[in-house]
Amino acid sequence: METIHLKTPDPVSQHLLRSAAQQGIDLPWERYEKAQPQDGFMRLGLYCPLECLHGPCRIDPFSRGPTQGICGLGREQMVAATLLRLCQKGATQALAGAPHCNDANGLELSGALGNLIDKTLTATRQDDLSCSEIFEAAGLLQRSFCSQEKFLQKALRLGLLTLALVDQSSISAKVDTLECSTGYGVIPEAPVRVGFSGRPPQGLIDALEKGLLNGPAPSAALLSLGDWLRLDGRYMPIGVTSGEAELLLSSGAIHLLVAGPGTDPGVIALCKQMNVPVVMDYQTADPGDILKQARTRAAQSSYPDLFADVPAGLLTRVIMSPDSFSKTIVNDSVDQVALIGGADTPHLPLGSLAGDLFTALTGTNVKIAGWGDTALWMARRAQVDASVDQPLILENNQGPLLAIKGLAEAEKLHCLKGVCFAGMRDVLDLNIALGLAYIGFRVSIATPIPLHGSNVVNQTLSQLIVENGGELLHFDHPAEAGDLVSWFTAL
């Protein structure tokens, strides 16, 4: 356990890590270590994305092996096509969240973000966006002789399309802010705990909450394992960040798990290992039965009190609308804003980058707003460090887009120092990052993306972004806080 400090700096998490190790439970960190080194060709983007089934083709980065794919695809094209493939999947994911936009005709762009996208399209003399771009990208990826520039341009357009789709998928918030309690402190509050992961149906969550109100003793609590789920008029308490979900399960504190789409397979496997009931069949799931199972499991189980000395749960307010963000910025007379967000990543110790960056930037009078796991880590840091204020926490699905719309509303877009993705949950985040950079914002990504197989592609992508006044910073190593502080303060 010598490397425990590399996994997370959080003392409670470290305590749980020791406990899991004593029980012989494998967590994501062990799986990550066993997976090292991860496929080098894929990490470099030199693994052919053209799904012709003649491959897989790979290009040797050190020029001793193949320098082309079987079809003749060169190194630059292969890296660019890898990026396009990722962007195509990201745009598909965004489309799944906005099925009403699935129209082959042009997308209607409106609002502040729509205007920014429109401006970029006009400046670069491009056609209007439409969802058919996703299929066109699929066509380009089928044994295509396209140049790397064309692949990159399409990838950037898909970034713009993703921004538009995420923007249009946002449900107009009826409230300005919602309460959310977070941290390990929310765990000991009830004797029976029903955990939630992924995106279970809202109807089931509501039915369970209703069942709790009318149910028998002992009282039970609904607890999210890192996902942002809504209860009536507030967020479900978030016990841990998504990277700590298995850590919390290993403690035995969760008596039943409701696993929605997007739940990691490791979470389900660990539940089976620990005999924690898992609900995955929502159609037939009866809320009464679920709560009964949880109570039975709680009565049978005993777990060491690992949460005796944890800090109390932290009650925060999540900003739900651009209007609310705009008012906060204006009322607090903020003139410098940094957006930092994203999900936990195995490439970095959990929460260390978010916490260090937050502390360092707060010292330079920059107002920090965050989303996702990163926001939770920053809130935790502010809870234990009296010298820093709580960050502004943004609604998770909209994240940086909400803040940008709010800044545009307050006519303070010039105050934005940059947008940093401290970790990426999936390709949707990559598309948002590319889209934001392409419409002229400074964007940084703290974990490596598979572009380093070709310097030419890297330079071309930067050039395309810089031409529109944006900037995309990404690293060939997991970034440290120092790298990003100097980037944020460079302006």
Binding site: F41, L44, F62, S63, R64
Partner: protein, 183 residues
Amino acid sequence: MKTIAVHLDRCTGCKTCELYCATERGSNGKTLLKAAQEEVVPKARIRVEGSNQVSVALQCRHCLKAPCIDACLTGALARDNETGAVLLWENNCIGCWTCTLFCPYGVIYPWPERKIAMKCDRCNFMEVPVCVDVCPTKALELLEMSQYEAAIGRKTGRLVGDLCDDNQRGNILLLDLASPNDR
């Protein structure tokens, strides 16, 4: 004496050993992503040969009677008394590359950029050679010669066991290589 054993049945031909050998031993950056961007292309001292059916990672076998040592004009190639490995003393190498012609496995390479030869030194200064460390299927293993021989023995025993029943074990086994259609 330790040697790098190659399990043919485990090698998938993924070339991870090649990538990380070039990165660790041939680059300044020492990480794959940095190495891939370097102007002087890093070179690996291991090579994966074969086809989709069979692949094998080849690196210097540190032969007990090494032709490269005899071929070397300047004595730059010599055996390390302590480890038994055949090492290249770069200061003495004049880049004649005679050794590359004599190596029976073809695993000594010219290094034109530095005008010397290049070969696997079994990562002499490291606890475990980098190729062994990164192999995802453990097809490469660092073994003492005695362990190596035992492993060969086990594999041969398994092969015999697979090919004949218990009554025949220990007898001479003749393999009929003719295909059934030829009979």
